[in-house]
């Protein structure tokens, strides 16, 4: 029954493609069986919406008159430093960047109310952003100072380029110490007061394509409410982790580097975010379509929260000290029940990733495909799989003599 992406695209153009979400496919496959479901369904849409720290945007602001070379100088957007190590007017704003005068964690836990993620959100929302830059001046770029408002609609390019997003599974965070800790996994109360998790589980893109059989470099996706592409495998892409019998990674595994035109995106799907005591970041919405090319691929998309296991990691000790120990394994179904039994204690659970918004993304993408406005792409190269032998390496520290 194998189908091709070309055949599926023909159906999308005719408006006859059958598109369902990764949540809906579970019931469909249960009722009809994998074989029949694979014949009937053409595309399964996935979604995720959570804080994704390795995110940022390249902006080309256009040349001032007289010209200024920002490269090698210093540039600020709403007081948040933007990277200016490129050419004259290309800058990069990273989601974690903070104003120089932000007190950080001087009074712990720091609030981190405004940073790079918030600049990106305001830029996307069409708000004017204050650009202040200093440069050293050259014969061809004589100006040494620039202070101006910029707006996304006026600048040449605004490109979201996130180097590691949409993690395939992730740690579940706990705190066994006797004091509250403030982490990128949220506020973790003492003595296993709560545990936090961070993926959309059964709706999450790479958990529905565990061996990267359809998602690859060049895959067209929904990014920040607009259209984007998978640019590369995400940094720290780590396919060789423990997996269940069905191939679902039991630890943080693959990841995606994604790129897209920020000008098409929406602040509803790119939200400046503050993690108390940790820093600023950007909450990103991503939806990835999975073409049902075979029964095997459909089988992967039927993964349920019961079948996805994650490791509970102690963020008061194992995580900061880069120790591999875990406190246990837990399924997303258990996590979503609101309580998990751990070390003889019933520990309440909370999510950092929004499941209702992930559902919404999967549905938006489904509608785009059904209406014919979003065709599927064939990857131009695969993501490194298990056979690549790639594993994540710690830093090899060599002290400076």
């Amino acid at each position: 029954m194998a189908k091709t992406i070309e055949e599926i695209n023909e159906k999308i153009k005719k408006g006859t493609a059958v598109v369902v979400t990764a949540e809906e496919i579970i019931g469909i496959a249960r009722d009809k069986g994998i074989k029949k479901a694979a014949q009937e369904v053409d595309v399964v849409t996935t979604g995720t919406f959570g804080p994704m720290c390795s995110s940022g945007a390249f902006l080309n602001i256009g040349h001032a008159k007289p010209r200024i070379k920002l490269g090698g100088g210093r540039t600020y957007l709403n007081d948040v430093p933007a990277y200016a190590g490129l050419a004259a007017v290309d800058i990069f704003i990273g989601a974690n960047a903070l104003p120089d005068d932000d007190p950080r964690n001087k009074v712990h836990p720091g609030e981190f109310n405004y940073g790079g993620g918030h600049v990106i959100e305001e830029l996307v929302a069409g708000k004017d952003i204050r650009l202040v830059a200093t440069a050293y001046g050259t014969d061809c770029y004589p100006r040494k100072r620039l202070e101006t408002w910029i707006n996304i609609k006026d600048i040449n390019e605004a490109i979201l380029f996130n180097i590691r997003n949409a993690y395939q599974n992730y740690n579940v965070a706990a705190n066994t110490s006797d004091k509250t800790i403030y982490t990128y996994m949220g506020v973790l109360r003492a003595n296993l007061g709560n545990i936090n998790y961070a993926t959309a589980g059964q709706l999450s893109p790479l958990l529905n394509d565990p061996y990267y059989k359809t998602i690859g470099i060049g895959t067209k996706i929904l990014l920040g409410g607009g259209i984007g592409f998978v640019a590369w495998h995400g940094t720290q892409h780590n396919p060789n982790v423990l997996r269940t019998e069905k191939g679902v990674p039991k630890r943080g595994a693959g990841a995606l580097a994604v790129i897209g035109d920020l000008k098409q995106m929406s602040p509803r799907w790119l939200l400046g975010t503050s993690m108390l005591g940790y820093g600023c970041t950007l909450t990103v919405g991503i939806g990835v379509p999975i073409p049902i090319l075979s029964e095997e691929i459909l089988g992967y998309t039927t993964v349920t929260d019961e079948e996805i296991l994650a490791a509970i990691v102690d963020y008061s000790n194992a995580y900061p000290n880069l120790k591999a120990d875990i406190l246990g394994e837990v399924s997303y179904a258990q996590l979503k029940s609101g309580k998990v039994k751990l070390k003889g204690k019933e520990v309440p659970t909370a999510s950092l990733s929004s499941y209702p918004r992930a559902v919404e993304i999967a549905n938006v993408l489904k509608e785009w495909i059904k209406s014919g406005k979003f065709l599927l792409t064939k990857p131009v190269a695969p993501l490194p799989g298990v056979e690549s032998g790639i594993t994540i390496k710690p830093l090899k520290e060599r002290p400076l003599e």
Partner: protein
């Protein structure tokens, strides 16, 4: 009929030194549980109370407070969720000590149960998109 409500009392500068709240118990047989109390930078007194008693006496007590010059608001008017910013992630659920946030098991939407809020303010900074707002 017995009632129990969470209210915010604003005491203007001129009456902050008067004994007022104790009269609710003495004269109107009302019970109160102080959830929060402080003096604002403008030297206005602010008190968040859970006030309970018989409806008739409760109404009289509120009338007494109003006549004394105390401005009264319901707590639900002061602690609000900015629906534009809330993503329904659920990070607040385990932070709130009074269980004012509940996840709907079907939709996974987070409901803010205003009546359970004790105005501690822990959710304000723990909310990643900063959707919780306090307007005392």
């Amino acid at each position: 009929m017995a009632v129990s409500r969470r209210i915010v009392l604003h005491f203007p500068k001129r009456i902050v030194e008067r004994a007022i709240v104790c009269r609710l118990a003495k004269d109107y047989d009302l019970e109160f549980n102080i959830l929060k109390a402080f003096v604002t930078p403008e030297e206005e007194g602010l008190l968040v109370l859970e006030l309970s008693g018989e409806q008739k006496e409760y109404d009289k007590g509120i009338k007494y407070l109003t006549e004394t010059g105390v401005r009264i608001e319901s707590l639900s008017q002061n602690f609000i969720r900015n629906e534009e910013r809330c993503t329904h992630c659920g990070a607040c659920v385990t932070i709130c000590p009074s269980g004012a946030f509940e996840v709907d098991p079907k939709t996974r939407l987070v409901n803010f149960l205003n009546e359970k809020c004790v105005a501690c303010g822990l959710c304000i900074k723990a909310c990643p998109p900063r959707a919780m707002e306090v307007h005392f």
